[in-house]
Point group: C2
Chain length 320, copies 2
DNA sequence: TTGTAAGCGTTATCAG
DNA sequence: CTGATAACGCTTACAA
């Protein structure tokens, strides 16, 4: 593999001059420079990442660590991050699971955006302590070099459920996500608070897992239950879609017999029948914002205020 | 940041001994070793990627380069790759666009899996020439260190359309993907061949772009056309879903008035009404296989035969 | 069993 | 404007 040494030799200059030319330093004679660049091109030379990083202590990479590649949410956030990083000439590196930890520990990235509830706080804090900024989404975490951004889950759900109550609904159920999910817990908090605020004492709590199949299963058992709620708020859209599918198969009409809403505003919600009412945030913009903050943090070294994403209710057919 | 030097000093040994201990070399006295490991733990030491890579010429990373983070296909392939790489102690690095090129050129990965038709052959060939294996999906490319795996698009579509013809359909349309897409072109080839084989001289060709919104738009204009086909084969599921949505809004019944099928077997096809008939391959298993081949290639240095993924027809409601 | 030292491919300081 | 050279953090002969 061609190294800078080969380029220098081919161009008949010293290594340092070659380096200057390749890095667009102004102190190289134009003729020399073009000779060097030509040589580099001829040899298909690119500076080796490791060597450069070792010397400069800068990777040019931002890591985005997610809990799995399957989520419909990620894609939008990632697109946003990607676009913004591109603007700032940073590379995006997406990883998951154990790979994330290793990339973090070995310092293969200049900064990390964490979208993975499985990465323990501890790991993040230790990484941040070494000076690289960490941006965590969907969890509260504070500390040096740590920036957190969370959705206003409780507030949004509270507002939404209040609206629903105003429409006359009284008999509610909550279809949960995993018990240890920050988003799930905050959404439930908002749900509960809204009921409390309107003096509604009772509701069913259905234990789901944020997946379509989980929602479907709950839906099936619910079909056989005698006292069905009139409105089910689902902790995310996927559960809601599973529910609706089960109900449709059983001939339960949504929203006439039972109204349903979700959270996230995933694309699929627009293509099922009935279209899903949901609470959504602009994930792409969120990604862009987070990336912007990250880059600023790295380049200016200042702690910049990160904003929480704004949410919006999307009224659609599954709940009138 | 703690370096191996700090660890060595703290443990009262030389750098090399520290290195031996940290790498589980058998030549270190147990007591010394445990002293070193303790020191490392106390200092929260991890070897720096760049320094190690520079010396060993091994990154431990496999890059997976995709054309965007949004596709519903990727997630499954990525999950498959991820799981298999985990087994073999390789890190997965996913990237896209310009970042992909840079990671490749700077040699931040030991091997690359390419799932991105925008990455030019040229770039891949040059990378492979330097000795790192490249595995390309959904395109034909041969050369040193290059391994390709493609779906049998033409064969599968040919088989499917033949079945459809056997059901009595005669009046077909093809809703395409982008003109320069390998998958699209091969699928069209299979479609055309099946019609030819059964003496069907005529069909409509609708120009789409693989997106839901593209399919929707085509669907809308088609609603107003006077001579509608009886069966539309879509180059992918997303186009098909867009089409169906447009037809539903216009009151055209699927499949009674017009039958539709897609390609890819994306999850959403199961949750729309009517459920989408499609041709699918097991993307997750494909990912696993590709990762396995990649790891073997790196570790054994042999060119191993890569298999093309098997496909299957999923008959569902959109076409009886 | 442990230590010394060379070297991986760069960049950057300093001298010419 | 150009060239020697030290240094980044690590691994690995080779020496002790």
């Amino acid at each position: 593999m061609a190294t800078i040494k080969d380029v220098a030799k081919k161009a008949g200059v010293s290594i340092s001059t070659a380096s200057y030319a390749l890095n667009n330093q102004p102190n190289v004679h134009p003729d020399t420079k073009s000779r060097i660049l030509e040589a580099a091109k001829a040899l298909d030379y690119f500076p080796q990442f490791s060597a450069r990083h070792l010397k400069t202590n800068r990777t040019g990479n931002i890591g985005v660590f997610i809990y799995g590649f399957a989520g419909p949410i990620f894609s939008d956030v990632l697109e946003g991050i990607h676009m913004k990083l591109l603007e700032h000439h940073y590379n995006i590196i997406v990883s998951s699971g154990k790979s994330s930890t290793i990339l973090l520990q070995e310092r293969q990235v200049d900064g990390a955006i964490i979208f993975d509830s499985n990465l323990p706080n501890d790991t993040l804090i230790r990484y941040a302590k070494k000076g690289s900024p960490v941006c965590v989404l969907d969890r509260y975490l504070t500390g040096d070099h740590i920036i957190a951004s969370v959705i206003d889950n409780a507030g949004l759900v509270h507002m939404f459920i209040s609206d629903v109550i105003a429409k006359g609904y009284r008999d509610f159920a909550y279809l949960s996500g995993p018990k240890d999910s920050y988003n799930n817990n905050m959404r439930y908090m908002g749900f509960k608070a809204a009921l409390d605020a309107h003096g509604i004492k009772h509701h069913q709590y259905l234990e789901g897992d944020f997946t379509i199949s989980g929602g479907y299963r709950i839906g099936q058992t619910l079909c056989e239950a005698k006292n069905k709620p009139r409105f089910i708020f689902c902790a995310n859209d996927e559960s809601a879609i599973g529910l609706i599918t089960a109900f449709q198969e059983a001939g339960i009409r949504v929203p006439e017999d039972l109204a349903i809403a979700g959270f996230d505003n995933i694309q699929m919600g627009l293509y099922i029948t009935p279209k899903l009412t949901t609470i959504g945030i602009d994930h792409r913009r969120w990604g862009e914002h987070v990336a912007e903050v990250m880059v600023n943090r790295i380049q200016q070294g200042e702690t910049i205020k990160i904003n929480n994403p704004e949410g919006k209710i999307y009224w659609r057919e599954s709940c009138e």
